[in-house]
Symmetry: C2
Subunit: 364 residues, 2 copies
């Protein structure tokens, strides 16, 4: 029996006093790593992604490669995960690269930019369309390896206290939004304000801000925005398919045996699928609860969408001269985006649109 | 150092003449399994999914759990993979469960049914919406465990020699299509004909059939249909988000150590993400080549879609009395489908539709 003869050989190797460990033990060293996430544990889909990676890697290696996950603020603040991985405070991080556009605006492409690709298109770009490769020099400059590990799908356009019927209605509104979305929406007169997750609800309640965006129905409901703002807008055009990433300290990565590298990579792949599926499961149910509670669903007027998109491309053009990484990545990304949207629209979206508009209802 | 002390302990345990193998070796037995796929190797995205699973599992276990993949026909014909796994001819299969609706029509839900969920909705149902659980008794009855391992996205509506402008145009057309799609389209007067992949091109050329569906631009182009049929229709409403599955012989599954089970499960998760991303990467490029070569893109008329959908639900109702598994699964599946479509339409599809219709074009 193959298994028995294998064990026998291993035992003989050791019993003969060989100091060099047998191959099997060499490739399964006991390693304990720490992962700093950008999320509180209450966001059980974002943080859950990190937890699943730790669980799968641990189980696949019989507990030899163990990863302990920490919420934002436990080891480092949620927005300093890149720094913590870079300087070796932790071996791993689970975060959204676009949190680091202050260091280099090119990091936006690690997550998403306004009017960019959806979840599936994002995955295609990253894994097959050269996305991973074109982003690598930037991540390497910061001493990390990035592994795609999650997506939220298209986010919602946030909670607004007053309805938006025209571009005029949106001007001067203090809107909690960060990153590139904030820079774009400022171009149409909105006042973007950055407020940490836990402070959004009180800020909305007190009127320090007039509106706020967060993620989507399932995560938003937990923070209680529906109690202080009535209008829930779609779509969140600044986050069409935001990627979350596991960042690995490059030196630590290089030290990993091959089997542990593949275990971690495969777990990250799987977490990407897991997270999108969990959001797709939870969001419809949360949306139904919100509507039952009085939330009013609204779409952004076309004028707001178009003015924002125009503003976005103006900004992207400006960045061509401001970041060498942006200048490398943006043209490659844009061509890919356009081709992907064309194909999805022709087939997948045609199917989806038909299903929604169909008046034929099944009876069981 | 943790690693060194671990090795020392392992060595001591063995050197002391302990016959019982140390934990680490027990959990990494040498195992060689064979996987029979339903696909030819030339379909490098479908067969590629099986290959990736084998590659990842092998690498994660340092080659101790090795899986050898075989194309359809190498060990068993492509449409007999379930039987081969059930009777232990092979330990693993990579196939589409709906090939086995002749055994029980409930198997359709393992892949897809006409007018069903798209890729993302399918994943949500399987992993979180009770899909895996509600399908388990059926797979168990056939002695296999099913692990979700791939998706093609919405398939195309096939190659037609004459344009379809109304329901009348489609009547009497000999169309190569299998499974439930064939049974549904027969209700509107099409003559469904089953022809194996390799025989489709000659059958179309000779006129034995008038039209044929296969997968999507990337796979269809390889079979050369564009040379003998001019009109390429969207969408393939009979396959909105078909799942591919790895089937594992249940007895063999139960014998696997926990770490190998998790390695295989995680690799299947990852293959699901990998395959969809590869299709999304390849399809737009293939579609462009086809159009450049003279292929004419067309949408099915609404009358054809609606008559087909009506026919589909009539059929689904009939099956309620014909398969106990269908009667269990269909109501659960239908409620989930309707909820998912509502949410996707409101947010993700709104975003996607905007992007496509937008007249604003970026200039670099």
């Amino acid at each position: 029996m193959q298994r028995r003869s294998f064990l026998k050989k291993a035992a003989v190797g050791l019993a003969a006093g060989s100091v060099a460990a047998p191959a099997i033990a060499q490739s399964n060293p006991k390693i304990s790593w720490r992962l700093a996430a950008s999320w509180p544990k209450s966001l059980d889909t974002l943080f859950g992604g990190a937890d699943m990676i730790a669980k799968w890697v641990g189980e696949m290696t019989d507990g030899n490669f163990s990863i302990r996950t920490f919420a934002g603020g436990e080891i480092v603040p949620g927005l300093q995960v890149l720094d913590a991985v870079q300087n070796g405070t932790v071996e791993l991080g689970h975060t959204a690269p676009y949190y680091y556009i202050g260091k280099d605006v090119g990091f936006a492409f690690g997550t998403c930019v306004p009017f960019g690709m959806n979840d599936r298109q994002s995955n295609a770009w990253w894994h097959f369309g050269g996305g991973n490769e074109v982003m690598e020099p930037l991540f390497t400059e910061y001493g990390v390896k990035a592994l795609l590990s999650g997506n939220t799908g298209t986010q919602m356009g946030g909670w607004w206290r007053k309805p938006i019927k025209s571009l005029a209605d949106i001007k001067g509104v203090k809107f909690r939004i960060g990153g590139l979305g904030g820079r774009v929406i400022a171009k149409i007169g909105v006042v973007p304000t950055m407020v940490a997750g836990a402070d959004i609800y009180p800020s909305l309640e007190k009127g320090t801000i007039d509106a706020a965006e967060w993620v989507g129905p399932y995560d938003d409901e937990k923070l209680g925005f529906q109690k202080v703002a009535k209008y829930y807008y779609a779509p969140g055009w600044w986050e069409g398919g935001p990627r979350l990433m596991t960042l690995v300290n490059l030196k630590k990565w290089d030290e990993l045996p091959k089997n542990y590298k593949v275990a971690l990579e495969t777990a990250c792949h799987a977490a990407n699928e897991w997270m999108m599926a969990k959001y797709d499961h939870e969001n419809p149910k949360a949306l139904r609860r919100l509507i039952a509670g009085g939330t009013q669903l609204r779409y952004f007027p076309k004028s707001v969408m178009e003015a924002s998109e125009k503003g976005a491309y103006e900004l992207y053009k400006e960045y061509m001269g401001k970041s060498k990484h942006w200048a490398r990545i943006y043209p490659q990304w844009l061509a890919y985006r356009n081709e992907e949207i064309e194909w999805h629209r022709f087939n997948d979206n045609t199917y989806e649109n038909y299903l929604w508009h169909s008046k034929i209802k099944a009876k069981i």
